[in-house]
């Protein structure tokens, strides 16, 4: 196995995570991500004695609360945290380039 990922492999996982990396970071992560992924690969050698999966350790079945109207959050308060807004609307840049 190679000691580091290719530049393209790093860019692929960065793209999956929607994270833009600098050139310097790409170089650093080529090694670091490889180290981490190799370590994670140890799971392939584990012999299973059980097929059942445990997704959550919660011991009770999740129950839904009554569907009754509660207190509303104040839209003005919510909008204070929004980086770009117009009235009570959140502004985002164009979704699709030409």
């Amino acid at each position: 196995m190679a000691d580091c990922l290719t530049r393209e492999e790093v860019l692929h996982v960065a793209r999956l995570a929607r994270i833009e990396l600098t050139e310097e970071e790409i170089e650093k992560y080529r090694y670091q991500l490889k180290t981490l992924m190799d370590d994670v690969d140890k799971i392939k050698d584990v012999e299973l004695k059980t097929e059942e999966r445990l997704i959550s350790p919660a011991t009770e079945n999740a129950t839904l609360r009554e569907d009754t109207p509660g207190e509303m959050l104040d839209p003005e308060e919510i909008m204070k945290n929004v980086p770009e807004s117009n009235g009570n609307f959140v502004e985002v840049p164009v979704m699709i380039d030409e």
């Binding site: 996982v13 960065a14 999956l16 995570a17 929607r18 994270i19 833009e20 990396l21 600098t22 970071e25 650093k28 992560y29 670091q32 991500l33 180290t35 981490l36 992924m37 370590d39 994670v40 140890k42 799971i43 392939k44 584990v46 299973l48 004695k49 059980t50 097929e51 059942e52 999966r53 445990l54 997704i55 959550s56 350790p57 919660a58 011991t59 009770e60 999740a62 129950t63 839904l64 609360r65 959050l73 104040d74 308060e77 919510i78 204070k80 945290n81 929004v82 980086p83 770009e84 959140v90 985002v92 840049p93 164009v94 979704m95 699709i96 380039d97």
Partner: protein, 482 residues
């Protein structure tokens, strides 16, 4: 300077009841201590809010033991109107619009929130060094790490800046820094404490818990924050009990197990020696000790990497620069907004974990890694279940070493995982785990014992922890060492 904050909670409570002091005296003292401290334990000190609350309490009856006592909260617990950053640049200016359920409970108990503590960014780390605000320092030796991720909470309680703090524990983040800083920390049973308002990292692992100077006060704080919350579907309907009720009971006849893996080569000898001393002490007191094997313990690091990073990559998708927090200026399009905001806003460790987590969950990988991890996770839980049919408690070390140098292991992406090899299993199985200090190494650095209990059995853990605390009578105040 007054020293009311050095008194026990019971003593402070008496003084408040008899009107010898007012809550404001405690708040002023805490503020003075925090402002004179160079530990970098806090990200935000809420002087104004704390003073206001203390004044309000002056007209109220002292109705419970924790009334008027200052408490610090880890900065991933949201507080209405008070900056909450999770120690990340991406939440630079985030002012929550609601309180976490634990915050409501603390307010209902008339405790006083003094500020928000430093931590690893989004609780990802074992040293608190991934904080955007710089690492907190260990009160026992400032050149060493506090542990993490609840490092600020551990440091401020250890240094006696405040008597109480809350931390969160996804893979040891309460227990390991408590061990490094010489305090008592409890990660309760999964579902014991509401996670509503805890900034999610690994939703099937996260749990909020108390960090305190001693065992009794820890149980008192767990009394306050426990209970069913309709806003967290995974919180349990189990009745809130008095967690102090077994404190003081004899441990004679108690059946205790030590997993062989917990005393294996991965643990430093000086840590094992202390744990062995405790084992002898417990035997002498009439408890039985058996060495047992728990399946898959040696795989807990790998499991945590896969489940922890997987859940994190999904949970942290919400930080996109659109609705709150840091956002880049004049993005070209929405992809540009996401990519650059997250690229600039997240730190190195967080980006690494999100990227690997996204990779592990993508396409076929989900089967190879995540699915298999969940199967092993079930195996761990089943094995613990079996052990608890026979034993009351499981013990071992929390950390494989004592607190190490701030410069050590900085460029090792695996270090933060292997530091926590012994604390992951409890999170995987949803079991309660705690730290109780059991002594010091030759450099006078604290060593802690991990106690793992059966689900919903925190009271028995406090019983054992309190017995050990009473027998050892350690001086756990780092101010008296220098």
């Amino acid at each position: 300077m007054n020293k009311y904050l050095d008194l026990s909670i019971k003593e402070i409570n008496e003084l408040l009841k008899n009107k010898k002091i007012k809550p404001i005296d405690l708040v002023n003292e805490a503020i003075e201590r925090i402002e004179n401290s160079d530990l970098n334990a806090f990200i935000t000190l809420d002087k104004e809010g704390a003073i206001k609350k203390a004044k309000e309490l002056e007209d109220k009856e002292v109705d419970n033991l924790l009334f008027g006592i200052p408490i610090a909260l880890k900065d991933n617990i949201v507080t209405k109107g008070l900056l909450t950053t999770a120690a990340s640049h991406i939440l630079d200016n985030f002012i929550p619009i609601y309180d976490a359920t634990v915050v409501e409970k603390i307010n209902d108990a008339n405790m006083i929130i003094i500020g928000k503590t430093n931590m690893d960014e989004f609780a990802m780390g074992s040293t608190s060094r991934t904080s955007y605000y710089g690492a907190p320092l260990n009160p026992w030796d400032k050149t060493r790490v506090t542990g993490g991720s609840s490092g600020g909470s551990a440091a401020c309680v250890s240094a006696r800046l405040v008597p109480f703090a809350l931390g969160s524990d996804t893979g040891g983040s309460i227990r390991q820094p408590s061990s490094y800083c010489g305090i008592v920390g409890m990660k309760p049973t999964y579902g014991r404490v509401s996670r509503y308002g805890l900034i999610a990292f690994g939703s099937s692992l996260d749990q909020i818990g108390p960090m305190t100077r001693n065992v009794y006060e820890n149980a008192c704080l767990l009394n306050v924050i426990s209970g069913r919350d309709d806003k967290d579907l995974t919180s349990s309907h189990a009745k809130v009990e008095d967690f102090t009720r077994k404190i003081g009971n004899s441990i004679k006849g108690m059946k205790i197990a030590v997993p062989n893996f917990f005393m294996s080569d991965i643990v430093d000898d000086e840590v094992k020696d202390k744990v062995n001393e405790i084992i002898e002490l417990l035997k002498k007191e009439g408890a039985s000790i058996d060495y047992i094997d728990i399946d898959y313990l040696e795989n807990a690091v790998t499991l945590y990497q896969i489940i922890g990073m997987g859940e994190a990559s999904s949970n942290l998708a919400r930080f996109d620069g659109v609705k709150f927090g840091f956002s880049i200026k004049e993005p070209k399009n929405v992809d540009d907004l996401y990519g650059k905001t997250r690229g600039e806003g997240f730190g190195e460790e967080v980006k690494r974990r999100i990227m690997v987590g996204s990779y592990l969950l993508s396409g076929e990988n989900a089967k190879i890694y995540y699915n298999k991890a969940l199967q092993i996770r079930n195996g761990i839980r089943e094995s613990f279940k079996k052990a608890f049919e026979k034993y009351d408690l499981i013990i071992g070390p929390n950390a494989t070493t004592v607190a190490y140098s701030q410069d050590e292991g900085l460029n090792d992406p695996l270090r933060s995982f292997y530091d926590d090899a012994l604390v992951f299993p409890a999170n995987m199985a949803g079991l309660p785990g705690m730290n109780v200090p059991i002594g010091f190494n030759n450099d006078n650095l604290p060593i802690g014992l991990q106690i793992i209990g059966n689900v919903w059995d925190e009271a028995t853990m406090y019983q054992l922890a309190s017995f050990i605390e009473g027998k050892l009578e350690l001086n756990l105040d780092p101010r008296e060492v220098k």
